[in-house]
């Protein structure tokens, strides 16, 4: 937690929100949760295509796993019926567990890959699972003030 010196030679660079890209849902297979893997043009110069596609494909896999109708979801339903749904007060549903996993994954991707490139992925659950929002930040150049929401999001993360 070093004190920050605003040296004239060493002015702090700040990033500001320049644009947002929205990845839409891919409804080609019905209403199951899938996002389009089309690489948006705004990210052409910001991130490698493969990295981006990996992220989206992994997210799609997570969502498919969450919505899978398998033994676990069936058992959960039966248990809930048997306990008059009181079990929901104590237990977390499978979907919620996978959503937490997704949240952690997105956080990790942001830290490792996207933030160093000036991008931030917003968890789609906050948008009702309609879009994946990717915020694009621009380097505002050297400036003494921290502008934009991004740069103020916790220097503690460093």
């Amino acid at each position: 937690m070093a004190t920050e010196f605003h040296n004239l030679q060493e002015l702090r660079h700040s990033a500001s929100l320049a644009n947002k890209v929205f990845l839409q849902r891919d409804y080609s297979e019905g209403t199951t949760c899938r996002f389009q893997t089309k690489f948006p043009s705004e990210l052409e110069s910001r991130i490698e295509r493969t990295l981006f596609e990996d992220t989206v494909k992994t997210l799609n896999n997570y969502y498919a796993e969450a919505e899978k109708m398998g033994g676990q979801s069936y058992l959960e339903g039966c248990l809930a019926c048997a306990t008059a749904y009181l079990i929901f007060l104590c237990m977390e549903t499978r979907y919620e567990k996978v959503l937490k996993k997704i949240g952690r994954y997105i956080q990790e991707q942001n830290e490792k890959i996207y933030a160093p490139r000036g991008l931030l992925i917003t968890d789609p659950i906050e948008r009702g699972m309609r879009v994946i929002e990717i915020s694009i930040y621009e380097d505002r150049g050297s400036s003494g003030s921290c502008s934009g929401s991004s740069s103020t999001s916790g220097s503690s993360a460093r």
Binding site: E44, G128, R130, Y137
Partner: protein, 736 residues
């Protein structure tokens, strides 16, 4: 009275992001309170008065069984009442950066090969996902919206449909149990009917019996829905009446989806995880590829263009894949207009996104003909989404300035197999738009009643014609698409568009050049269509077959509207008039002989309106089989020209026989009318597009047309000034 009057709290468990605070509506809680009261009170009475005797004299299992069923019913009732049905949070401001004026009301998306329309929700500020609907009572968009149930005072959507369905099932069973066991009690106490217990039991039976019929009916209805994989909303709006439901996976899978699927998460009222990733420059940048570097150099630094080109080409590939065998679309407009800002918003990145329309096309006012509503056309932009929530109108369709196409009429109604996208915006709207609108107005009326059918699993021009505005969007899509490669780009992704392309013969042959050549039949017809302003006659009786003839003329609009202003189009119309006149003049003699030669056989089909037809119609036979009848109509009495109108006038004013022939005939009529310089007949023939108009048109001009033709034939050598009515009703004088 114990009761869940707390049910009156309402099913609103939504968080702050879902909706604005609303007023307290006590009337909304009456049904749910009544339900709760009846349910709990009746069951309590049953347990208190009937069950003791039953447990003694029948079995002790009976009360236990009834208790279990009752608890199950109550639990599902509470879940259905209090559970968030799947409310979408309002979209944030950033998602909707695009100007309201330019955004289309609908976006189409392809689900398992079927085009589904997503409507813009003006309250929630996003395009509603498939199966989502906005509940006006709750003022929320709900995922997989089934209906708003007043008895639980909550929307039934994705998350609580299972509970609602189980509530209905268990309530039915519970009612049957209560009624049955109560009957058993009463039958055994027939001599003690004056006792309190019997009276209460009988009262309970009455209540149970009274509610059994509607509850069982509703249960049966929902069982059918579950098996079919539909929602109540889809069922009552008739979305899948004639088509295929893209959301069904088969009977067993549908049932298991309802009963066994994972509990969906709620979207509102969640704990927001704090993002701790810090974004701080300097940023890593990916290495540019060779192509990108080259493109940058060539572009003179205009990077948008190469990016957009690349993304659009990839988009085009995706679209062409989904559109199967679409012919490659013409070169995209952004190539010609580099550097124009692209729409960078959520909506622009949807699958149905078209190429960025250069601003000159976005803001070009639609060409308006006298018949059309000028205000609608002169303020196209405002109508798109501003008040879109409950006022879809056909006018919006052709008023759209954006490059996306929109079938707009049917609100929440039809899912249509059309995902048409118009690349050129309103540029081509002019007569094409007006005609489309004219047709669309009437088509929309008929289309709405057939709304269910418009959900196409089969590509069908019937759907298109009854789809009202659909057809108009199709038409303009046609005009754009088939025009020479103009600005319209996009590969449309809708099957019905393809089907239309497959079914109607000509499209490719219609080029601007061909239109200028009078010897081509398609262009003859299309020119006729284009020159005659389309009246919004209601082709409500328009049989499907008519759609075959429609696009052909529609296509003709494109070349005129393609790059031209209304003024220019009128000029071109004038030029075309001249050319036709010259053309006809040039071959008047030899062709007249030709006409004479063939007219006798053509005259045999009797009491058709004797329409003077030019040689062009004869050529139609080879190209347009469906127009054969029209061309086979008794040719004028071209042979009778010397004795001008008498035979012709006497020729029956009988209705044009097959209505499908009407429009084409009417068009040709109007065109020849113009060619024949008989602008008196103009108003009649103007509405040549519609069947009714065609019929009327074919009839009306008969008397006037003959002399026209006669004049045409006789005055041709004389030269002079002819009055011709161009598009939009303006008259021009051309010298022959």
């Amino acid at each position: 009275m114990p009761g869940f009057s707390s049910g009156g709290l309402g099913g609103e468990v939504g968080g702050p992001a879902s909706s604005s605070p609303r007023r307290f509506h006590p009337s909304r809680y009456v049904p749910v309170s009544a339900t709760t009261t009846f349910l709990v009170a009746s069951t309590t009475h049953f347990f208190c008065f009937t069950c003791p005797w039953l447990s003694e004299h029948v079995s002790s299992v009976v009360p236990i069984y009834n208790a279990v069923v009752f608890l199950f019913t109550l639990a599902n009732f509470c879940m259905a009442t209090f559970m968030d049905p799947g409310v979408f949070p309002r979209a944030e401001e950033d998602e909707d950066k695009e100007d309201d004026f330019r955004a289309p009301l609908y976006k189409t998306v392809d689900i398992k090969g079927i085009q589904v329309r997503m409507k813009w929700c003006s309250s929630c500020r996003f395009y509603r996902p498939p199966r989502c609907s906005h509940c006006s009572v709750c003022d929320n968009c709900v995922e997989d919206f089934d209906h708003h149930c007043p008895w639980v005072n909550n929307c039934i959507g994705r998350r609580n449909y299972r509970h609602f369905f189980l509530f209905l099932l268990s309530l039915t069973i519970h009612i049957m149990g209560v009624f049955g066991f109560g009957l058993l009690y009463v039958l055994h106490h027939q001599h003690q009917l004056d006792r309190v217990h019997s009276a209460v039991t009988m009262a309970t039976m009455c209540v149970a019996g009274l509610f059994f019929i509607p509850v069982a009916g509703l249960t049966g209805f929902h069982m059918v829905l579950v098996v079919r994989g539909r929602t109540t909303n889809e069922q009552v709006t008739g979305k899948f009446r004639g088509g295929v439901n893209p959301f069904t996976n088969g009977c067993l899978k549908n049932i298991s989806h309802v009963l066994c699927s994972a509990q969906a998460p709620r979207y509102v009222g969640r704990w927001r995880g704090m993002q701790t990733a810090e974004v701080q420059p300097p940023f890593l940048r990916p290495p540019l590829s060779e192509a990108q570097l080259e493109a940058k150099v060539l572009d003179n630094g205009i990077q948008n263009d190469c990016h957009s080109t690349r993304s659009k080409s990839s988009l085009e590939q995706m679209e062409s894949q989904s559109a199967d065998a679409e012919p490659p679309p013409p070169p995209k407009p952004e190539l010609r207009y580099p550097g124009l800002p692209r729409a960078d918003t959520e909506e622009s990145s949807l699958l149905s996104d078209g190429p960025p329309t250069p601003s000159m096309y976005k803001y070009r006012p639609a060409y308006s003909s006298p018949q059309m509503n000028h205000t609608a056309l002169t303020h196209p932009n405002k109508m798109i989404r501003g008040d879109s929530l409950d006022s879809p109108s056909i006018l919006q369709l052709s008023c759209q300035p954006s490059y996306r196409s929109e079938p707009s009429t049917l609100d929440g109604g039809s899912i249509i197999g059309v995902g048409v996208r118009r690349g050129g915006g309103e540029r081509g709207e002019g007569p094409g738009g007006t005609s489309g609108m004219g047709f669309g107005v009437s088509g929309g009326i008929s289309g709405y009643s057939l709304g269910g059918r418009s959900y196409t699993s089969y590509p069908s021009s019937l759907v298109l014609s009854t789809g009202g505005s659909l057809s108009s969007s199709m038409r303009s899509a046609h005009t754009h698409h088939n025009t020479l490669g103009t600005l319209q780009s996009e590969g449309t992704t809708d099957t019905s568009y393809k089907s239309l392309a497959n079914q109607t013969p000509r499209n490719g042959s219609l080029s601007y050049d061909s239109l200028l050549t009078p010897s081509e039949s398609p262009e003859f017809e299309s020119a006729a269509h284009e020159l005659s302003p389309q009246k919004p006659h209601a082709p409500t009786a328009f049989p499907p077959a008519t759609t075959f003839s429609l696009p052909a003329p529609g296509v003709g609009d494109a070349p005129l509207q393609g790059y031209t202003s209304p003024f220019l189009s009128a000029q071109m119309a004038q030029q075309r008039e001249g050319q036709l006149l010259q053309g006809s003049a040039s071959f008047s003699s030899p062709h007249r002989a030709y006409l004479r030669a063939i007219s006798p056989p053509l005259l045999t089909p009797p009491p058709h309106a004797a329409h003077p037809e030019t040689p062009h119609l004869l050529h139609q036979d080879t190209r347009h089989p469906h127009l054969r009848a029209s061309s086979s109509r008794p040719l004028p009495p071209v042979s009778e020209q010397p004795s001008p109108s008498s035979p012709c006038a006497r020729s029956p004013d009988t209705p044009v026989s097959p209505p499908p022939r009407g429009p084409s005939l009417g068009q040709s009529l109007s065109y020849t009318r113009e060619a024949g310089l008989q602008h008196k007949a103009w108003p009649m023939g103007g509405g040549g597009l519609s069947g009714g108009g065609g019929i009327g048109g074919t009839q009306a001009p008969q008397s006037t047309f003959r002399p026209g033709l006669a004049n045409h034939s006789t005055s041709k050598p004389g030269g002079g000034v002819k009055k011709v009515t161009g598009v939009g009703g303006t008259t021009y004088e051309i010298s022959v």
